[in-house]
Amino acid sequence: MKKHARRAAAATTAVLTLAVLATACGGSDDSADSKTVTLVTHDSFAVSKSVLKDFEKRSGYKVEVLRGGDAGAAVNQAVLNKGNPQGDVFFGVDNTLLSRPLDKGVFAPYEAEGLAKVPERLQADPEKHRVTPVDTGDVCVNYDRRWFADKKLDPPRTLQDLAKPRYKDLLVTEDAANSSPGLAFLLASVAEFGEDGWQDYWKKLRANGAEVAGSWEQAYNDRFSGSREGKGKGDKPLVVSYASSPPAEVMGEKNPPEQAPTGVAKGTCFRQTEYAGLLRGAKNTEGGQALLDFLLSKRFQEDLPLKMFVNPVREDARLPELFTKYGETVDDPATVAPRKIAEHREQWIKTWTSLAVK
């Protein structure tokens, strides 16, 4: 009886304490003081602890990172919050999504230090500098080296190759409506065959047995025969993935092989460039500017590849050995102007769905 009462009291106290704690801490948390700078970004953002600590020490700002789901969702949240942003800097809008936040006035101009070291063709807003390029990544068809060696078949090189009979039933790609590499691959075909020609290409590709998976995870982890997590059980030796996937396959390997188990078909690539920008209405503009400078600094740029599996935009940033040894440089990737993508995106995806899926 006594025991009951005591236990009851303990439980009640615990619940009440938690509830009070919950309400009390709710409001006190937004530390919008000038010593904190807030980076709003997507799920894939990553940085070495030591690199970030270094910036905090030298600049005197504490960096808070907020994430808002995948890249598309994060960008759309920034658009919804324009003028009254959640943070000071947004990182992670790529060229396929860039027009929307630019048109809606999400970003404020700032010319980041170090921009001179970035090739001009990557600068999407060269007059006003509302966005700053930070990294690039190429979406390419990857192939399973061993599969093609066993079959004594040359891996495909170009988009045209993929439609040839000898590569019948070998390719798996992703849903362009829901997957970023899937959309990039569709855009690669638009760049290659033109606004009126890509539809025919996809008809041929479909007739040649190209399959569409729902997501990159599914295509790469489950269907692709070259990914190690599939333990070689995948049935497709060709997959739409990233140019940095081969180094990722080798990373963490105790006995690194001579060559990555997978290769990249260099003539199938589409370049995604990721941008960052100062958010209009930011509470800590100065801190935001310092953070943008940091994103373009050599230290951060050289940290990028192993953290996010993308390439730095700074010409003088050195690539890690994992990339130089196992990665491949794509010299002439396809790309489509952000404005054009914004105009046609919906229609292209609709047409693509009817051609490749339905």
């Binding site: 509830a19 799920d43 598309g72 658009v79 997501s215 599914q218 899926v357």
Partner: protein, 594 residues
């Protein structure tokens, strides 16, 4: 005092034998538990004398919580969509609902929900029977294990399911059967998720139906099937209907399963809302679809409430332990073995595949992936070591549980007092978050809670708040039947004997609802642990929850990431299973104590 105490003990025993008693996690949507027996109406009537004032006071907190953290954000984002450009876009409603692509989505949503529900009932009802009528070794463990899928995040389950039923999976190897490209994968995954709903809601009532009634019918000359059809089936029908409606509700709003297994071909309303909001930022279309889904879910809940009221009839109930027995003879053993076999294949094997993949490291089987979770301080995916996600998850879930208990407990207390139409409406209202797209709530938070003093957009409290929204309905479902079963005369007796209202509550009500409170807490906790949809928008990178961490790892190339994602999933599964198993103990211990 002593007199009152004895009464309490007796009532406690009685309460436990009601089907309404906390049967482990009772899924939401069962307002009165599996079946409410006719209550002593005198007590019920007098309960109404509690006064409208008290009821309103009790309802204030849950109502404010619901309005602020659900109604307002959702209304804000819908308003933004329908009022785009400064004027009402009423034309968009007809336009969106007339779009053949959208109609296709609506049709598929309805169709797959109906098919999934039928399939789940067909496969899980035998399971409910076996659990109700037989004792076998490992029953308690198995009951906890089949409930694990229900609280696991869908990304994890989708992945495990692909490993099993996809290409190169066990089914492919053994039977040459591949399901990843067909709608069957979706339907079976829905069965996997909802199996426990049927087993628990129908099974708990079934276990308390007096088998002697059926035996009496047999003695009087009815065949085995006739006896079942005439006696047991009518008694079970209401709880089967309730279970069916819940399963329908869950599959109607299915998101993660369809994302992972539906491929580009299949989309439900929920998936389409996500696409329109998160990918296309077509807020008007998203708003129309959100409203459509809300109307559909509200209609479902209304049907549910109506069905519940119709079926209240007195049943002859006995304690579950008297009805279950060891299977006798080879025939019964075969039945039990077959049903359990199907259950294992459907629910346990996908979980085992997950564990197997977590252990299958680069150097053969071992704990390499688990060790890697803690080893990386300078991780590529996280600012923190992935293993810290466990601590974050537990902390968030604890806060969410506290919020859900306070809000849900007060709501249940308010609803206990004899309910008018208004109160029943309030009850249904608190269920709506379960039927609302997480992206709508997540984006609604951003749009609505952006001004001081309520600028919570970047506050950590948003995560447990979003989780609590999902937990509250479960708390109410568990608490309500027990609170209703407390006889008001006990409280009156205590008052007569000189106890203050607070003391009366502490001595009378609290001991009776203590167990229900624990069970409710446990279930709110596990549901919070597994919540993914809303958390992914608001979790902070320095404090990812387990499901968010798993999703981030799955999105990266390389064996190490994949293996660690599986290892984290396994840990999540173990935590959930542990909590559920503890609940099973609470449930059985309760029968022995006092």
């Amino acid at each position: 005092m002593d007199v009152a105490r004895r009464e309490v003990v007796d009532r406690d025993a009685a309460a436990r034998d009601l089907p309404d008693s906390p049967e482990g996690p009772v899924p939401p949507g069962v307002p009165d538990g599996p079946a409410a027996p006719a209550r002593p109406s005198a007590a019920a009537d007098r309960r109404g004398g509690g006064g409208t004032g008290v009821r309103l006071a009790l309802m204030a907190v849950p109502a404010a919580f619901f309005a602020l953290f659900f109604g307002y954000p959702v209304a804000a984002i819908v308003f933004r969509g329908l009022h785009e450009g400064g004027r009402w876009q009423s034309g968009r409603i007809a336009q969106v609902l007339g779009d053949p692509d959208i109609l296709q989505v609506l049709w598929f949503t309805l169709w797959q929900a109906a098919a999934s529900t039928a399939l789940t009932l067909a496969l899980a009802l035998p399971g409910a029977y076996v659990f109700a009528r037989f004792d076998f070794p490992g029953k308690r463990l198995l009951r906890a294990v089949v409930t694990v899928p229900f609280v696991l995040p869908t990304v994890v389950v989708g992945s495990a399911f692909l490993a099993l039923a996809g290409r190169g999976g066990a089914l492919d190897v053994w039977f040459g059967m591949r399901l990843d490209t067909s709608v069957w994968a979706i339907l079976l995954a829905h069965v996997f998720f909802n199996y426990a709903v049927v087993v628990r809601t129908v099974g708990s009532l079934w276990s308390q139906l007096d088998p002697r009634q059926e035996e009496a019918a047999r003695v009087l000359g009815a065949g085995r099937f006739t006896a079942w059809r005439r006696i047991t089936l009518p008694a079970l029908a209401p709880s089967v209907a309730a279970a069916a409606l819940i399963v329908f509700l869950f599959t109607f709003t299915s998101f993660g399963v369809i994302q992972v297994l539906g491929g580009p071909r299949y989309a439900t309303l929920e998936v389409e809302i996500y696409r329109q909001t998160a990918t296309l930022l077509d807020l008007p279309t998203a708003a129309v679809l959100t409203l459509t889904q809300l109307v559909a879910v509200a209609a479902l809940l209304a049907v549910h409430a109506w069905a519940l009221r119709r079926r209240e009839s007195a049943l002859s109930l006995v304690p579950a332990e008297y009805t279950a027995r060891r299977p006798a003879g080879p025939g019964q053993w075969t039945t039990v073995a077959t049903v359990l076999g199907v259950m294992l294949v459907l629910t346990v094997v996908p979980l085992l595949v997950l564990v197997q993949r977590a252990l299958d490291g680069p150097d053969g089987y071992g704990l390499a992936f688990f060790r890697a979770l803690g080893a990386r301080s300078d991780s590529a995916t996280f600012v923190v070591a992935p293993v810290e996600a466990i601590g974050n998850s537990l902390a968030y879930a604890a806060v969410a549980t506290a919020i859900a208990l306070v809000v849900g407990g007060l709501a249940a207390a308010a609803l206990t007092r004899r309910a008018g139409r208004l109160v029943r409406g309030f009850d249904a209202l608190l269920m709506l978050p379960l039927g609302t797209s997480a992206v709508t709530v997540g984006f609604g938070f951003l749009v609505a809670l952006d001004e001081p003093p309520l600028d919570l957009r970047s506050s950590w409290i948003l995560v447990p708040l979003a989780q609590a929204l999902v937990g509250v309905p479960f708390v109410i479902r568990t608490m309500l039947p027990v609170l209703r079963a407390v006889d008001v005369r006990l409280r009156e007796a205590a008052a007569v004997l000189g106890a203050s209202p607070l003391r009366a509550w502490r001595e009378v009500d609290f001991p009776l609802v203590r167990r229900a409170l624990l069970v409710a807490a446990g279930f709110a906790f596990t549901v919070s642990l597994g919540e993914f949809g809303a958390t992914v928008f608001i979790a902070r990178p320095d404090a990812p929850t387990l499901p968010v961490a798993v999703a981030r790892m799955l999105g990266r190339a390389g064996e190490a990431h994949y293996g660690q994602a599986m290892a984290l999933s396994t840990l999540l599964m173990l935590v959930c299973a542990g909590v559920l198993l503890a609940l099973e103990r609470v449930r059985t211990d309760g029968r022995r104590e006092l």
